[in-house]
Symmetry: C2
Subunit: 386 residues, 2 copies
């Protein structure tokens, strides 16, 4: 398989876009990515759409064809890839394999979700479809409730206090303040974190990421291609996907994200690096507990010690392990099926040196990890500047 690179990136702000339909959102991101790549529409051969909830929330499936037509690509191959909140990176991986295999030379990947203005069932009940319908949600568990059980167990097992998770949310909000596309751009304090309204004990409002409407897109090409401005395209150094049981109670260890560990290990092996070589890590902080567990699963901290990196001030843009550098799920926002592509777009920004006030100094290698459900599907990518 040949090496693949990201030629262009695009994104919409994340918010309540009641004036924009699903196709408008996706179209904006794709067109921005095309402009960034200086690519003309007829050159793109296939479109891979990451999306979780268009069926229940927007009553629209078949969105691959719909979006392809909307952006002026009627006729090209298109499909939607779904892996719950991991859909974005799963779609990216499909696009990557299409180019790596030689089946296509130029493809687009867009992650899109429209969640704040919907028809049909509630967003909360639809998000719960990421969990086990027969054995988790049938018992009345919402998705945040499942994460609350995991966080409660973590506090119990390792003796941390709720406040010890504050640095994850404070860092995310501080970074998002400088990201014009972020949904929550207000910095928060330790005091605000401690006093935030409870959602599902021990997860409070500032542990939880906000949903939103948004889309992010990339144009993928073979790695020998050079960007129109003379800069090399950002190479995809590794891509790996792994799964775990969909229900948390089916796992040997509910506090270990086995699929995150497995996909990260595969990615490290592909890239020939270890966690210590990464300049940044866009992790899947849907809830603050997931940030800690992701750091542990990916080799940045021992079991039960993920929170320590935050407490020691190592997760900011100038820390040892910069995370959520553009706001993360927590503050940039979490339009679920789009999130994985936002993460990749943000790593590209960092590796290009276009991350502004939250630029990681001389970032050369970055990782993005997108998680579907409470750890059931995990897709990890490592990007590098050449």
């Amino acid at each position: 398989m040949r090496e693949v690179a990201i030629l262009g990136i695009g994104q919409t702000p994340i918010g309540e876009h009641w004036e924009l339909s699903l196709r408008h959102l996706a179209g904006e991101a794709v067109i921005a990515a095309m402009a960034d790549a200086h690519v003309e529409p007829p050159q793109v051969e296939a479109l891979y759409v990451g999306n979780m909830l268009s069926g229940p929330l927007n009553r629209q499936e078949n969105i691959g064809a719909m979006i392809a037509d909307w952006v002026g690509w009627r006729g090209i191959e298109a499909s939607k890839i779904e892996a719950a909140c991991g859909s974005g990176a799963a779609a990216f991986r499909s696009g990557l394999i299409a180019v790596a295999s030689g089946a296509c030379d130029l493809v687009a990947v867009v992650g899109v979700e429209k969640m704040t203005e919907t028809v049909g069932p509630t967003t909360t009940s639809s998000l719960a479809t990421a969990a086990d319908a027969d054995w988790e949600t049938a018992q009345g568990l919402s998705f945040v409730a499942i994460n609350a059980l995991v966080m409660r167990r973590y506090l119990h097992e390792f003796g941390w206090k709720h406040n010890d998770f504050a640095p994850f949310s404070i860092n995310a909000h501080a970074n998002a303040a400088h990201n014009p596309n972020a949904r929550l751009r207000e910095p928060i304090t330790q005091k605000e974190y401690a006093r935030a309204r409870m959602v599902a004990d021990p997860i409070n409002l500032l542990d939880a990421s906000p949903i939103g409407d948004g889309a992010a897109a990339v144009i993928l090409c073979s790695a020998d291609r050079v960007r129109p401005n003379g800069q090399p395209a950002i190479a995809v150094a590794a891509s790996a996907s792994a799964t775990d049981s969909i229900a948390v109670h089916d796992r040997d260890d509910p506090l270990y994200l086995a699929a995150a560990g497995q996909s990260a290990q595969k990615a490290y092996a592909q890239a020939g690096i270890g966690p210590q070589d990464l300049d940044l890590f866009e992790l899947h902080d849907a809830f603050s507990i997931m940030a800690a567990l992701s750091l542990e699963a990916c080799g940045f901290a021992e079991r039960g010690q993920g929170v320590r990196l935050g407490l020691e001030g190592e997760i900011g843009p100038r820390g040892k392990v910069p995370v959520a550098t553009r706001g993360g799920l927590k503050a940039r926002g979490h339009p679920v099926g789009a999130t994985g592509v936002y993460q990749l777009v943000e790593v590209v920004q960092q590796l290009r040196g276009e991350a502004g006030e939250t630029q990681v100094p001389d970032a050369r290698i970055g990782m993005a990890q997108n998680i579907g459900g409470s750890g059931a599907t995990v897709v990890t990518h490592i990007l590098k500047r050449r």
Copy 2:
């Protein structure tokens, strides 16, 4: 890219499987395909699931991970691919590219749908998500109503009578009578066709395919592999996907399935053959009008003349263009996201000479075409015996 072959096939009967959940259905098909391939579980590296409606109907997403775990493959890569009723073949194509690229050596593809016992919105309104939510279903059109408008236009434009479509349904039911997995196994007569209850004028009950619960699966490998019984695996000679506008009224010609034509032409070019070289064609006869339009788009008949092949007796297993040889969508049944995989499984049965009473004599090359929506996403595969 290397050549890919189908090592094993499996399927469940299509019916009202109220005792089986989505994972049970998928598991049965996958395990049957594994047994047919004589493959041990640890060898399979990835699972691609074709499914359209698990979100709205079963309130379950993330089914890639769920099914992988259920069949004993916890940890492997898995995702769901959605392209409305074309999801099955789209998932097959993802699996194909994974093997063709060398990313994987052995993958499983399963199409699964559970439609007769559901939670949430009705099946009819969920099926309508294959059409344009903003411009078709918002006007009150159901999916059958859209096809009825197309059929009415066809009758008007070319002067055929409703009865001229009867051979499609009669052939499908006659063939399904010999398929133990078919949902409707009763032969029908011309008189019964003419008198069937109207669904959406001019589409009556015997023009329309029945939905159902079911799953079909294949195991894909590189083409140099030989089946355990010494027979060569059935090779995938071509794979192509194309799209059209999602709304019928956006097309230059509402009576031409442009994406079907485009994907078939790409497939013919890949396989180095033309329609005259095919021994059978498993077409997407969700409605009898779609059978006629598919034959026309794929080069078997001139515009407006697709029905003639039926009237001339050329669509049976011993005709010039055998279609729906195991019952087609019309009588085998149409568990939407699974259908594309059923079609491929049935072509394999024909090419292996395992199609029993409806065996096409000495079948060597067969095509399967899976359509998502009213022609918006079309995926075509050509298989050949070596």
